[in-house]
């Protein structure tokens, strides 16, 4: 009799746990479909005004440090080596198709992220590199945010340095752009913030000793070396950091919503030159 009771209690608590974790997951991830209802914020400051405040606040500290030597330049060099390193069952390197030092990839990064029919979704540059490795080289895909993956991503992107970002949100990309935007405006976490409320509505304001950046330049310089990380990292690592700051559950690298949001944010940077590696605080 008592055993039955215990069993029931165990079962009930298991069910309760399942329900609770399900609720938590939906709370943290949220579905971001209701894009039509999104009311965009008016930016609190113009880009010029933000630049002015940034100079007043931080000076040109990061520019100076980057000039003295951006540690991510070493990562970029390793990426160049990886580009011509043979890997996989087909005996090829990236250079086998794309030319020595990626000659034929000049400008390729300007159109990423983009819609891909085989994925039925958005393809980031990181995803494309892994697709190449799997399909054309017969090599193992690289783990996202691993050193080699970042290095190769950085090198391929650097081939488009100085060229203008030009991502398309037309046609099949449109619904994913809308999803990314909805996610950008979605309130989440214990602090109930959204990306947009800080980086659009209150951009250029101060949060304690930080100037809240406006989102114009958020997608034009990744992968970047970041002092806080003492490491080179990707835009999506930054997403995860921000999500944690809101006390929400971060999503995995290259998950659907992060790729959609990367498209949305890169679209905001359309027309700006690619500048990698970046150097940030």
């Amino acid at each position: 009799m008592t055993i039955d009771k215990e069993k029931i209690i165990v079962m009930l608590s298991a069910v309760a746990l399942l329900i609770a974790s399900g609720l938590f997951y939906s709370y943290a991830v949220a579905d971001a479909n209701a894009s039509d209802t999104i009311k965009e914020y008016k930016p609190s400051v113009s880009s010029q005004e933000y630049e002015k405040r940034y100079k007043e606040f931080y000076g040109n500290f990061t520019e100076q440090m980057a000039e003295e030597g951006n540690p991510a330049d070493l990562t970029l060099d390793d990426g160049r080596d990886l580009f011509s390193t043979v890997a996989g069952s087909k005996g090829k390197s990236c250079a086998s198709c794309h030319g020595k030092d990626g000659k034929k990839l000049k400008g390729a990064a300007t159109s990423y992220p983009k819609y891909d029919a085989s994925l039925k979704g958005i393809k980031t540059l990181a995803l494309q590199i892994n697709m190449c490795r799997k399909n054309k080289m017969g090599a193992k895909p690289m783990k996202y945010e691993s050193y080699d993956q970042l290095a190769l991503d950085l090198f391929v992107k650097s081939l488009s340095n100085g060229m203008l970002i030009n991502v398309s949100i037309n046609g099949p990309a449109r619904p994913f752009y809308e999803k990314g935007k909805a996610f950008y405006y979605k309130r989440m976490g214990q602090l109930n913030f959204s990306c947009a409320i800080c980086h659009v509505k209150y951009a250029g304001h101060k949060a304690r000793a930080n100037l809240i950046s406006n989102n114009r330049h958020h997608a034009d310089h990744w992968p970047s070396y970041r002092l806080k990380w003492a490491k080179t990292g990707s835009l999506q690592r930054r997403f995860r950091g921000c999500t944690k700051n809101m006390r929400a559950k971060p999503l995995p690298y290259q998950s659907d919503l992060y790729r959609d949001m990367e498209l949305y944010m890169t679209y905001i940077s359309n027309g700006l030159p690619i500048k990698v590696p970046g150097f940030r605080m």
Partner: protein, 128 residues
């Protein structure tokens, strides 16, 4: 004789206890914030971190997202305590698109900590 007195006292005593439980205790709990503890909540990053957005006396590098709290408190009298508490507990009641975290609703702070913060806020009013 003794027993009778005891019985006669039972009713009034229970009334007094009931009044104490249902009226006095909540009143004390509502008004019973500790301003010094509240100040700690307000200035600690892992707790209230109010200083991230609001100007407060005695700390450098305040944020400028929300209003200066010394100035804001001049608009509230003693009888507005529930309103001030609501701002901290969940400001969405006043502004559905506020950036202010719902400290009570999302359990960022405990009820006691919120009372302490309210007590601290009223202490700003005194010290003007």
């Amino acid at each position: 004789m003794y027993k009778k007195t005891k019985r006669r006292l039972m009713l009034p005593a229970s009334v007094v206890i009931a009044v104490f439980l249902f009226l006095v205790v909540p009143a004390i709990a509502m008004a019973g914030g500790n301003a010094a503890k509240g100040e700690k909540v307000v200035k600690t990053r892992k707790l209230g971190n109010c200083i991230a957005c609001h100007v407060l006396p005695g700390l450098a590098f305040p944020g400028d997202i929300g209003p200066d709290l010394v100035k804001a408190m001049q608009h509230y009298s003693r009888s507005d305590r529930a309103t001030v508490r609501q701002w901290v507990y969940d400001a969405r009641k006043f502004n559905s698109d506020t950036i202010m975290p719902p400290f009570g609703t999302n359990k960022i702070l405990t009820n006691q900590q919120i009372d302490d913060v309210v007590a601290y806020l009223y202490s700003l009013k005194k010290s003007k």
